[in-house]
Symmetry: C2
DNA sequence: CGACCATTTGATATGGATCAAGCGATGTGG
DNA sequence: CCACATCGCTTGATCCATATCAAATGGTCG
């Protein structure tokens, strides 16, 4: 089911992001310097292409690079002891992934569909962060955001199937450009593994939401939110 | 059931960091600078006492302080829309909590039993971090550890009741001093809300583990691990 | 057209929730 | 110091949401 293998991302070795500068990073109204990190990555990074279902990096590999999605989409995941797959997150264009605090990746990453990814050495980034406080701050902010994201996931996983699916749809709608029509890059299996459900339950839940007119599902990969407040109520 | 109210921790205003769980300051081989943060907190902080079940800070309050458990134990939690309570983490002596990346706390915190807590202003800590790179580094490390912890929780929440309980026991055993006897400060309800289960399921699971000789439960708050590998197998 | 996938739908099984009762320890007021 | 209320925990009976097993449908590509 999980095609991986193929084209490996990048070589490997150590590194270790030593960004010290810290806390007070939280409060800035973005603006001028808000994309210092992006600039740096663009400048120092290389764009790599990954065909659909190929591995970008593997769990337990040294985490030497930081990645930013240019086009396409990416999933991170972990295979649990019982063989199930848990998806850590979906990354869309503009999103950064591969952020690690240990020497090794805790998740694997794969291209969901053909994707272009901007790749930067962590060591390079660390050097730059030492020079440019804006870069350091952004890295720190990014970390905080990631923590928040995982916390929300944690809270989500104790809710009902309807709530999880509704929440997923709202999340994807917020992240996508069109606010009420979603073009899903991932399969039902991906969604199920993201939400800790089975593919059948995801499918049935979508059918059920459609029957209550909360959503429309013109094609399996396209979902239109018809009644956002009904979804939010579930989500709450 | 949830007694809160009572003695509020500290006044309030802005600042920032994240919550929940973790990081046992205890396990670092430490060394020279490994406890620069601890030194700073000891020096600049004040010890506050909280009776059992009193609130230390509330969700959505400005996160102005960072906390370190001196004695007793603390839980962080959130009340979900459906009225259930989700516990974010348990903090034992030496653990730091109240770390936030936004201006406001995402969880509330309460003393599980009478507790003494070292309280430091975040702004003070920030200033100190700017002066002492070791402090900054430790804060950063702490954050990374917190992220890892939450990721692990996320993975845990998609597993079976037996796996969750086994994992909880192993976690508590690792964190406590005695490696195979655990003295639980929290109630079954706390454990249930931590693991996303009901109190009955937690109780039945413990009974079941006892019947397979994996553990012994001499008193409800005391648990002895008899067959760690059986637990780890579940945990895996 | 035919093969292969992804998705949906149906039938049944089951783990954990819910409802309900009992039990032991702790604490309080008489 | 006892009687009783309360609280935390366990155990039992039943229910239900979601998993599991199975099959049909639809879409895509060679």
């Amino acid at each position: 089911m999980l095609t991986q293998t193929a084209i490996r991302a990048v070589p490997s070795r150590r590194s270790a992001m030593s960004t010290h500068n810290l806390p007070r990073a939280a409060d800035f109204a973005a603006g001028h310097e808000a994309d210092a990190l992006e600039q740096t990555m663009r400048l120092m990074g290389a764009v790599m292409s990954y065909p659909r279902n190929t591995e970008i990096f593997g769990e337990n590999e040294p985490a030497e690079y930081l990645y930013r999605v240019v086009s396409g989409s990416v999933r991170t995941y972990k295979i649990l002891s019982d063989g199930r797959r848990q998806i850590g997150g979906f990354y869309l264009p503009g999103d950064i992934f591969g952020l690690e605090f240990a020497d090794e990746h805790t998740f694997s990453a794969e291209a969901i569909n053909d994707a272009k990814v901007l790749v930067v050495k962590r060591s390079t980034l660390g050097t730059q962060a030492n020079r440019d406080a804006a870069v350091a701050r952004e890295l720190f902010t990014l970390t905080g955001r990631e923590l928040r994201r995982v916390q929300d996931r944690m809270l989500l996983l104790v809710r009902s199937a309807h709530e999880r699916v509704a929440s997923f749809l709202l999340e994807m709608a917020d992240r996508g450009s069109a606010s009420s029509a979603i073009e899903l890059p991932m399969t039902r299996q991906d969604i199920a593994d993201y939400l800790g459900l089975t593919i059948e339950t995801v499918s049935r839940t979508l059918t059920s939401l459609e029957s209550t007119a909360a959503i429309e599902v013109p094609t399996s990969r396209r979902i239109v939110l018809r009644n956002r407040s009904a979804l939010s109520r579930l989500n709450s």
